[in-house]
Assembly symmetry: D5
Homo-oligomer: 91 residues x 10
């Protein structure tokens, strides 16, 4: 089951930069692993912003919440979720 | 070069329904052809709405405008375009 | 799998009132049947508006889109969908 | 009398994390007790966000305000309230 | 139980003006009667707009919906409802 | 002359809680005095929020600004003002 | 007592153009007369739009509503009103 | 003096298509002439929309309003104007 | 050439109050001087807010930016600028 | 390939002012170099704000993201990107 997830990162003033870099590196590893698992299908950078648009293929909203909320930068994310269904024009 | 395009269809009162169905069928054929050409990579239905989220792989904004503006339902579309770049977490 | 669906009805000027009443009556029957099927769990009126908030328990976004887009008043609906997951405070 | 309450938690930079966890645990207990009392009917997690959608069955706005404003995380909440009435399609 | 209701009237092009005046006159009578009943406490004009802000004292959201949706101009209304509770600074 | 004033309080992280309670208590006294003076006609709590909706009867915008800006919590307020006039349906 | 009024004109499809020109000419005369009366202090065109920003000096919201709602193009107006008070930096 | 002008065209249902094409062709000629005059410096299509972003070099807001409001499609335009000044990073 | 400028002041938590008062007093002097110069025509307080609406008569956007950005409270301002042109109803 | 980029700078409370000036000076040099390279075609100040509107001519969204995200003030930017295509009225 597919979901589009748009994630924007906003780091508030006062957060340690080294900590942010560590979280960011860990997040990249976690997202790569989820791609290898076949659960995180696509991730693109929104050009010009610290933001991404992703497509996830999951068992449902419970798994979606578990995955997103366990991302290392989750406390600094704005997240928008759109459930996707098959389009009649899709080959 | 990748673009996310979100398209919402709003048919105003007074448009002939048969005409809309013809335009809609023609649009599906056009989008299928663009998928076969490798230019329209993905199209998903936004669940619950007459709307879609698509990923296109094009030569640039000129080709994007030419493709979107020649879709049969273009006069009834709200269109949002987001240019996408490679994400460091993408495999 | 649970989804919250918020539906607002806006009938444009020029739509026949008798037709709207027929569609509305058919919609009520359809929603009642979906409740009996165990797929439409709750429906509440947003007090003061021609709008409702509903909770559906479905197999996924495909079934959601099929159900919402086949409602008789779908052409006149604004629809917002929120995928729901289990909350740790739920008994 | 039914109210839908949508609650989003935003913890500002500088709030102690241990304190937040304590408040969060206390809040879960409080919400569970209100469910046992029959006053907090449903609570769902908005998938992908630190947010919930709840349905409360209360005597009126005074009780609603008393309950919401005494939740431990109230100082960090954005709250939207929608009064609900019976829908003609509800079984 | 108190609710603030903000109502804005938008008449679409094509609605007969004489009909609007009749509906408007009937609405004024209906609101006056509800004031005499002690259910519609206050009604003020939003200066410069075809809009009003009202305070109603009702048994709950069901009565609120029944009253608002039976106003003659209801099909042309945008309605916002805010449930009110007692304020500690109120005498 | 009547004004509706909607006030929402947002206390930023780092403000001393004891100080906020002192300001809040002083504000309640000040609003009570203005009610006794016949200038602050009504104050209601927006159920579920640290916010109120009030009706003031004043000589004009100068007095309105003088009263609102001298409230103890003014630095933490979002304020919306709507000038009200007599409604033809008011008894 | 001063009010800023921002007025935007939106003529829906189907309104007779000659009628709009007549209403528009009548409105200009009415606004000129109100300037001569000393009640409409300033009127400026928002450059690039069919909109104006005006400053009126009136007895209160009742007179404001009477003046704005009797303008010939009132049915096609979006109106925003801001009550103004004396600024400490004003000479 | 520079202004950025963003123009979006929205043709309501019921406007004659041949008429729109005539207005559109006339508008293109008018904009080309203003470019030759050195007053309309740049015009770009917003990719995917019937909209443009333009830079005009004019004597002031009066000339801006005169030019924009005399464009043939002005009745169907949404217009946003941003006055521009020299940037310290500009060569 | 006329511009309407709407300025809202938002002082973040942590800024020294004495410093703000000094900046505020300096700003008042600066605005008074600009009024004496004939460049700042009007300044009004938005009743109930720390905000003002002003009309400036300047040589163009460069002078506008130079004046606004040199105001002592500029770092804490939200600024909206609307270029104004002559209105046909102005005497 | 052309992109319009609108950048607004918001410096949070607590950032060192000397550091901001250093970043700002470095940014100006970087933008000047990109202009000399023919990649940053135009940069204008939005009059009255710490914001700019720019036109970049780049190979695509990847280069756009690389350039914008390496600007010294990127952590404090709000960025909006609009892909531009050729307009039929452009000479």
């Amino acid at each position: 089951m597919l979901f589009q997830v748009q994630i924007t990162i906003k780091i508030p003033q006062g957060v340690d930069k080294v900590e942010v870099e560590k979280l960011s590196a860990a997040e990249i590893e976690q997202v790569k692993q989820l791609q290898r698992d076949g659960r995180w299908l696509h991730i693109w950078r929104v050009a010009g912003k610290w933001a991404n648009i992703s497509i996830l293929d999951l068992q449902g909203p419970d798994e979606l919440h578990q995955i997103i909320s366990s991302l290392p930068l989750f406390p600094y994310m704005e997240v928008d979720v759109i459930p996707l269904s098959r389009h009649p024009a899709a080959l």
